[in-house]
């Protein structure tokens, strides 16, 4: 036992003195999951608003309608609208305090009533990317609406015109009724053409927002991605440890150990424990990072047993690969290819349900699948020990079998290395 501890502590010390490889393997899943969370996990709250300056030079109802469209309750979630006087908008754009400037020209209302062509001016802030584009597109839509309304209601609006100017007589009750009826008839006449609308914007702004929960989207994505890539990284970490059996053969230190009072079995057991210890360290790091984002504490017995079974599986897997490969270089090449394929099939990078049926069936034969699905059951779905017992059982049996087979081949390799 003392010799085993000595072997393991020596190897851990060596790894500590050259930690870059291990550090990269530990950082990889965290950085990978973190990046995905950052890219796909931004919440609506953090989306910047379009800062729109409206320079309204017209006092008529059409200009007011257009301007107020941007300040409606729905638009207020996306637009920060500031109405300014003539000539002030350009200065704000220049100072970088606005995404876009909408200039509503003088006589807009009058021109609409007269049926004359009207041009709205939109000035974009060149320093900003997407936000001015959003403002311009929205203004374009509103203009289309206004234009369509003006065309459809041309006659009733024309009837209204004598009463809109300064000093104009107030309309009589019969005038109001006539114009109202004209508007009603015009809309009813156009109903077949415009209702139901062929194109609607309703969904874009009226869609019911998902209820806010305590769980940040980014955290959820991080926790969804981390188990898969962490399992993949864990296999690479154990591979790093088990590879040392053959590396020591090259160094000559294995031969020297075998010339001492230590058998090949003890030497191998020491390497297996070392690989397991590295995997344990990696799991502890991944678990600590995951704990920061976990919305709830997972089942501790389930988590511990699943982790132990996984460690057995990763050590067994790498033992068999290096036992069969015979040389360090061959083993490393085989391991990279095997882990990549198994990781892909087993759900380390994409959800297994997204794979074709045939591949899904193969996935069940990989330890990656059982480990990844086990952790997802515990962390995402809040499952307990009973839910992950099948995964624990499969990983344990698989790990023990692989370790046994790998030890037989490795022992032969160690004996050969000692004799070389």
């Amino acid at each position: 036992m003392r010799r085993l501890l000595l072997l393991v502590s020596k190897d851990l010390k060596r790894k500590l003195r050259a930690p870059v490889g291990l550090a990269v393997l530990l950082a990889f899943p965290i950085v990978f999951a973190g990046m995905l969370a950052l890219v796909f996990g931004s919440s609506g709250d953090s989306t910047p608003k379009v800062r729109l300056v409206v320079e309204n030079r017209d006092t008529g109802f059409a200009a007011s309608a257009l301007s107020s469209a941007f300040t409606s309750k729905q638009m207020a979630e996306h637009f920060d609208v500031r109405t300014v006087g003539k000539g002030e908008g350009a200065a704000l754009i220049e100072a970088g305090e606005a995404s876009a400037l909408l200039v509503i020209p003088e006589h807009l209302t009058q021109d609409v009533l007269d049926g004359k062509p009207v041009t709205l001016e939109m000035v974009r802030n060149p320093a900003e990317g997407i936000l001015p584009e959003v403002a311009e597109q929205l203004a374009r839509v509103l203009t289309e609406v206004l234009d369509g309304g003006a065309r459809v209601l041309r006659q009733p609006l024309s009837d209204l015109r004598p009463y809109l100017g300064e000093g104009s007589p107030a309309p009589t009750d019969s005038n109001v009724i006539e114009i109202s009826l004209a508007v009603k008839r015009t809309i009813e006449g156009a109903e077949g053409l415009v209702f139901p609308p062929a194109i609607t914007l309703k969904g874009a702004f009226e869609e019911k927002k998902p209820e806010k929960s305590d769980e940040n989207t980014g955290s959820l994505i991080f926790l969804a991605v981390l188990p898969g890539v962490a399992v993949y990284a864990l296999f690479l970490v154990a591979d790093n440890g088990m590879r040392d059996v053959l590396a020591e053969g090259t160094l000559g230190t294995m031969r020297r150990q075998l010339a001492g009072p230590i058998g090949p079995g003890t030497l191998l057991l020491g390497k297996g424990l070392y690989a397991g210890a590295l995997a344990l360290i990696a799991l502890a790091v991944f678990s600590a990072v995951a704990a920061v984002f976990l919305p709830r504490v997972p089942s501790i017995p389930g988590y511990l047993l699943l982790s132990l079974a996984l460690i057995l599986a990763v050590v067994g897997c790498s033992a068999l690969i290096y036992g069969l490969a015979g040389t360090e270089r061959k083993g490393a090449t085989f391991a990279s290819a095997i882990y990549l394929v198994m990781g892909f099939l087993g759900g380390s990078f994409v959800d297994v349900t997204n794979l074709p049926k045939g591949m899904q069936a193969i996935a069940h034969w990989t330890p990656f699948y059982w480990a990844t699905s086990g952790y997802r059951t515990l962390l995402e779905k809040g499952g307990g020990l009973a839910d992950v017992l099948p995964a624990i059982a499969v990983l344990t049996v698989l790990g023990a079998t692989l370790l046994l087979a790998g030890s037989v081949f490795l022992k032969k390799g160690v004996a050969r290395g000692g004799a070389a």
């Binding site: 003392r2 010799r3 000595l6 020596k10 010390k13 060596r14 003195r17 050259a18 160094l251 000559g252 230190t253 031969r255 020297r256 150990q257 075998l258 010339a259 001492g260 009072p261 230590i262 058998g263 000692g418 004799a419």
Partner: protein, 307 residues
């Protein structure tokens, strides 16, 4: 201490070690001398339990190595030909690990490590990672590791190969000190001067066989006090035959423009040879070597022992 009986190791058709037998006495510094490929390292691998012999057996202090390998190995120290060290660990950490592997612990381990660091002259660099060491320092540490647990016998396989003169002298001094302290040392080398200056007894090995064994004086006597005469030039078979007919001379080889003779009274033989060659040979084409291990090796194998 070691009794090696009819030891044989085959690799296919090649008999790397061919039925050798020898005995190393307790406290003795025993040298195994031979060129590269003679079978020295294979013999050492079998003695250290890394390789199983095809035939024969090895007894260490009466214990059969094949029957109780771990028991025997615990009492042996091994110094491999190439330094087998952990480069990222310090000299002290290396020594502590290997000492611990042989069962040392606590203050006994501390003392043993300090002792070896002093003996190998590495105490001042003890905390440095081995990767920063020079080749000579690595060789000294390699030697020290084999000694840290105070073994009853040490197997040293060409521990001075590929290092500078100063480092070599340091290592040879450590080997002398170890032997002087009563440890049995089995030392292989292909450097004649090392076995001549170090070893109590020497075995000359070539092609897997031991050709001669004994103390330096005993081996020199095997040459029969004869000088070794080397003549370079072009010879025909008749010349070689006539040279062999010189009184007290024996032709060892006559090939590749070289005539090798074992002769009594080198100077007289040179005169006789010059007469045979009818003055055709320049004087610098003749060398005379007094009786030596080199001469013996040539005598035994017909070729020189080279690096």
């Amino acid at each position: 201490m070691f009794q090696v009986q009819h030891l044989t190791k085959r690799y296919g058709d090649l008999r790397a070690v061919d039925g050798i037998s020898f005995e190393v006495r307790r406290g003795e510094l025993y040298g195994l001398l031979g060129p590269n490929g003679a079978g020295k390292t294979t013999t050492m691998s079998m003695l250290s339990g890394l390789l199983s012999p095809d035939e024969g057996r090895i007894l260490f202090d009466g214990v059969d190595l094949a029957a109780k390998p771990l028991e025997v190995k615990a009492r042996l120290g091994v110094v491999p030909q190439e330094p087998a060290l952990y480069a990222t660990l310090s000299a002290r950490e290396n020594l502590r690990f290997w000492g611990g592997l042989y069962g040392l612990a606590g203050s006994a381990l501390d003392k043993a490590v300090d002792r070896v660091l002093e003996e190998t002259g590495l105490a001042v660099r003890a905390k440095e990672p081995v990767k920063n060491f020079s080749g000579g320092m690595k060789r000294r540490l390699n030697l020290g590791i084999g000694l840290v647990h105070r073994p009853q016998a040490v197997l040293m396989d060409e521990p001075t190969v590929g290092i500078d003169v100063q480092a070599r002298l340091n290592i040879l001094q450590v080997v002398r000190d170890v032997a002087a302290a009563g440890t049995t040392v089995l030392y292989t080398t292909h450097y004649l001067e090392e076995v001549e200056t170090l070893c109590d007894r020497i075995a000359i090995m070539d092609h897997g066989k031991i050709l001669a064994e004994g103390t330096l004086d005993e081996l020199k006597r095997q040459v029969g006090g004869k000088d070794l005469l080397t003549v370079t030039g072009t010879f025909d078979a008749e010349t070689a035959r006539k040279a062999g007919a010189i009184d007290g001379a024996q032709v060892l080889t006559a090939e590749n423009g070289r005539l090798l003779l074992s002769v009594e009274g080198g100077r007289g033989a040179v005169e006789a040879l010059t007469a045979i060659l009818a003055g055709k040979l320049p004087a610098e084409g003749i060398t005379i070597q007094p009786p030596s291990l080199s001469a013996l090796f040539l005598n035994l194998t017909g070729r020189e022992l080279r690096d």
